[in-house]
Symmetry: C2
Subunit: 236 residues, 2 copies
Amino acid sequence: MDTAISAITATDGVTLQRRAYDELRRLIMQGLIAPGQKLSIRGAAHALGVSMMPVRAALQRLESEGALVGRGGKRVMGIPDLTADAYREIRAIRVELEGLAAERAAGQVTDAQVAATTAHCVRMQAAAEAGDRAEYIAANWDFHLSIYQACGMPTLVAMIEGLWIRVGPYVATMMPDRDALIRSMPAHWDIVAALKARDGRAARAGIASDIGTSGATLIAALERPRAAGKRRGQAK
Amino acid sequence: MDTAISAITATDGVTLQRRAYDELRRLIMQGLIAPGQKLSIRGAAHALGVSMMPVRAALQRLESEGALVGRGGKRVMGIPDLTADAYREIRAIRVELEGLAAERAAGQVTDAQVAATTAHCVRMQAAAEAGDRAEYIAANWDFHLSIYQACGMPTLVAMIEGLWIRVGPYVATMMPDRDALIRSMPAHWDIVAALKARDGRAARAGIASDIGTSGATLIAALERPRAAGKRRGQAK
DNA sequence: GCTCCCTTTTTGTGATCACATCATGCGGCG
DNA sequence: CGCCGCATGATGTGATCACAAAAAGGGAGC
């Protein structure tokens, strides 16, 4: 089996389509579904060990969120292509939304939440120095999420998550090298400092700076002509 | 039949679930599904004249977008309650997103697009003076949409639509009176002027002003204690 | 008259099946 | 040797059915 999809089981009150959605979402976020890989309802259903129905609902929901797109005449689904222009758009939106979230969070964050965010930043620092990309990505997400959740705006956090899932498959694939990871850390510590100072303006500026610098690396990778071997991999 | 849902038919290449989704979305947007009204899969399927399957997919998608919410222990769906706080959150997000869209649009809008936006503003002006709320709402949406589409950011436009559908049922229900409609017009004309001048900063400010003033009316209505007769209406 | 419990109905979830459509591969013909 | 056509398989869509859980309705007991 050349897919990362593993079987799910029915548990207590959680519906199968919810478990299928969560599992597929996690795989996409972590870049375990390669761009170009084809996902069919029957194939994913077989890999997950359930019937077509819950998988169909999960895939349709992921499609409505932009995490997947109908490919080859809507016949099969796959990771949407991310052009440099599309990413520039997402980046511009992120600056607005995550800037807003950070600004609001700075105004009402508790000491405990600042401590949690700081801990995530320490994790990022360690992962960057160790060159552990997967850990860096996970810690980076936890870091940002811990800030945004502190603003008490659930709709906003959900929208931000919807943006991250679109770039997730690509940041996981084309990750910058160790030096770039280390260079990204000062901006993150600036954000922590802004939170500690309860400075909303500085927090927004720090987020914008972080998005801008990390985005530059990804845009460069996206504009680089793709490798030859594409359209590989099959679900089942 | 005490519901506004009317039957849909299969046409050429459009899937039934797409037609069901579009129809239900339109009804929600226009406030034709009252808050508190219960929507069941079987009931809506019967009203639409199709089986449960396409309706189920449509309702699940609308739920994932926040346009509907599982009510009464996820047993039945309905319009989500809109608290004043929830609306304040949406309003804050709208200021960022629609401000961004207007700012970008002002920088690259064509003369033809400005003319179309102006025409929608004229429609709004006429509807406001005539006290035609339904026409005002429709023209207002066309006005804003024509601006946002000019910025060439499809993801951003989709996100803005996702915000409008959440407040749609309530703006259609608790609409301000004629005087408030007329008072809202100068801000809209300011936006048109900003577009003509290709002034991005002014366009963003105009949008923020419009959202702020129109939002004040709705917040006042939301904070007013609800009428007694709630939880009425049935689909089917 | 009110409350509690049991029966009936309604509802969402998931599985299986039927069907039209599209891709694919194989064989024959030029 | 290359190209076209047909047949076979794969796929998404939609319908129907089975099942468990939750809601609703009614009747008996206090």
